[in-house]
Symmetry: C2
């Protein structure tokens, strides 16, 4: 078993030549990687079966086993992701801005890779391929700390991608899958400031909080979403029912799904009756405030915990509010800076909401589900940042870069 | 003594209305703050005298006492800084970019404040005024953790600025100077993720490293500079002597001064003789590699420690290298990602250096001293970031902001 420090150091060293590799080489590598994944599908499925077998023995839930599963369709999905990355514009080398100083110095602000990026994630083998592709495309080396539950699958994917990448000219060492997947190993990993420029945890709230609490390497918090939809008095109610339905039901297990709907008291009776009728056949459990219960008597009573909960499930909390100010205050207290939506035709309410709500994305008359790199048109996504430093909201390729200033003179000294 | 959590919470609460305060109010506050500082100069000097008195008793060095000193000239300097901030464009509200999706959703990426910013700094009272001004201008509230050595000066400045700011319409609580300046207090402070969006340590290497090691709040590392000048074989030698002189001597105590000069072996004898003649009258102590000693026999021998040292003093290390590749490798090993300069007329060498050297600023035929917010034309500076996340190099007003996505729809749901 190689030591974590050793693997991180190799990634750091490889990040130096990788930082100025041409787009052509990086894109050729991505295509080779995609091809080789598909070519080795049978091997991947074989290795994945070992993880599934162990997972079943360990009593993993059906949902977790499904996440862990690799089949032909999912392998093609990973390959298509890599292929698509090869077609995107390379952000590296972009001159973001530039200007000339009165003393003749020319300043260029140029986009460059971050260096070596650490990723800590749960038992989803597709993240292995995604993360490797995103990091290589942006000229970064990558150190992956996957779950012990997916160890055979991850090793197989990383081995295939490493061979393909090096064949195409990616510096050796640029892709590191940590051998050490112990719990203590994570503590070492998140403190390797000398080698890692950033660590991105991808997974549930516990994983992310534990990384943020322990890391000395700068981290990017991702993906915790206690998202709200506020239905204003002026909302188109039929449309509002569809937006809340979509925000809750279309994919309840993800961070941009809606957890609480805030309803203006003036339209609450009419709206909630329609909403309950729409959500009930989809099996959504409702939990309401006292005023909601007066309208929908069969609904369960919501507690303080409901306002805080990221259910990630077919459960929706409902609170009736006196107006946009109370909606903003509720979101200020319980929101997680992810996505908040207002449904309204009233410009004053919309303006108050978009200005005063603090979130990575504020939607107006649209589903919360649109906060997504793919939907935003980024072509790829590393996750959704819920912190304010560096990147906020969906992170595409530019969010995996930094910049340097290049200052061109002809002998200037400071007076 | 108010508890740290309480003060941070107040700053957090104040950051909400402050985030959308008009530029007019913020600028009026800055002008009022500048006026009131000057109006209370006698009081400030009186309070500062208490710190100086205590500092003398505690045996502070002359340099530290000088840093601590407030006189009329320095008070006017602080006021001018605030005044100048009032004239700069407000970055808040800028639409950084925007686009329309095929489904009709309009996305605006809008610049917004970070929230509450924590600053930890040493006994320089002027930082109190600077940091308050920069944070308010950018719509952020600020929590200052100053040095116990400057406690009277800091309290006086913060009190005057708070009164002025609130008189002009800044929300109460937006400016917090921590009462608790104990060492344990810092440990509490740097973990207040629920209130603080970022902590910026401003000071020496020990302060910064201790904050980075202990903080769970995202931090921005600033100001450690082991900066190099590489004098290539093709450099204009007379000019190179002046640039190295300026980089070392103009202000040796700051992070963008040069600590090691790397000299191409082909011109080493000629260049070093000229350089020594220029630096010697300025009292610069030279420490050279073995090859340097063969040219300048009276020079002290450099050790491994010299290559690592940020002297912040009139000391210069000299290493003769075989060419740009060795210069890049040396910088890769010992640089601190701050500022690196190449003096050359050779486009291939310049291109290799600017591409391969990893630093916030890479200078070509210019002094390292130009890495500075003022020199870059930013009009103000919070420090120089030596990390890669969020901000790199001199941090002006935009670097104290983040963004949010505002997504305008007319009923869109995700398919």
């Amino acid at each position: 078993m190689r030591a974590i420090e050793e693997q991180a150091k190799q990634a750091f060293e490889a990040s130096k030549p990788l930082a100025f590799l041409s787009s052509a080489v990086k894109n050729a590598a991505l295509i080779q990687m995609a091809d080789d994944l598909v070519a080795h599908a049978a091997y991947l499925i074989e290795e994945n079966a070992k993880d599934l077998e162990a997972g079943k023995k360990a009593g993993l839930t059906a949902a977790l086993l499904d996440r862990l599963l690799l089949d032909d369709w999912r392998i093609v999905g990973m390959a298509e992701g890599l292929q698509r990355l090869s077609t995107l514009a390379d952000p590296i080398g972009e001159v973001i801005t530039g200007w000339t100083l009165p003393n003749g110095l020319e300043i260029l602000k140029k986009r460059v890779p971050l260096g070596a990026i650490g990723i800590i994630y749960e038992a989803r083998p597709n993240v292995t391929a995604d993360a490797i592709g995103l990091c290589l495309k942006t000229g970064n080396s990558v150190v992956l700390r996957g779950s012990s539950t997916a160890v055979h699958s991850n090793k197989a994917i990383a081995a295939i991608l490493t061979t393909a990448a090096e064949k195409a000219g990616i510096p050796s060492g640029a892709i590191q899958l940590l051998d050490d997947v112990t719990r203590q190993g994570v503590e070492t990993f998140v403190k390797l400031n000398q080698y890692l420029s950033v660590i991105i945890p991808r997974g549930g709230a516990d994983l992310i909080q534990s990384v943020v609490r322990n890391a000395t390497v700068p981290t990017i918090e991702t993906g915790i979403g206690n998202c709200h939809v506020f239905v204003d008095a002026s909302a188109d109610l039929a449309n509002a029912v569809e937006i809340v339905f979509n925000s809750k039901v279309q994919r309840p297990s993800v961070c941009n799904s809606c957890e609480t709907v805030l309803v203006h008291e003036a339209i609450a009776a009419r709206f909630l009756t329609q909403l309950a009728a729409r959500l009930s056949p989809a099996g959504v459990e409702l939990r309401g405030c006292d005023k909601t219960l007066a309208i929908l008597p069969t609904v369960k009573s919501a507690t303080q915990d409901d306002w805080k909960s990221e259910y990630l499930d077919l459960i929706l909390a409902i609170k009736i509010v006196s107006g946009v100010a109370e909606a903003i205050a509720h979101i200020g207290q319980y929101g997680t800076l992810h996505t908040e939506s207002i449904l309204s035709q009233d410009m004053a309410a919309i303006s108050a909401f978009t200005t005063q709500v603090d979130a990575a994305a504020v939607m107006v008359n649209a589903s919360t589900r649109f906060t997504d790199g793919g939907e935003f048109g980024f072509g790829a996504e590393m996750g959704i940042s819920t912190q304010k430093l560096h990147a906020r909201g969906p992170m595409g390729l530019p969010e995996l870069t930094t910049y340097k200033y290049i200052v061109i003179g002809n002998g200037q000294v400071r007076g």
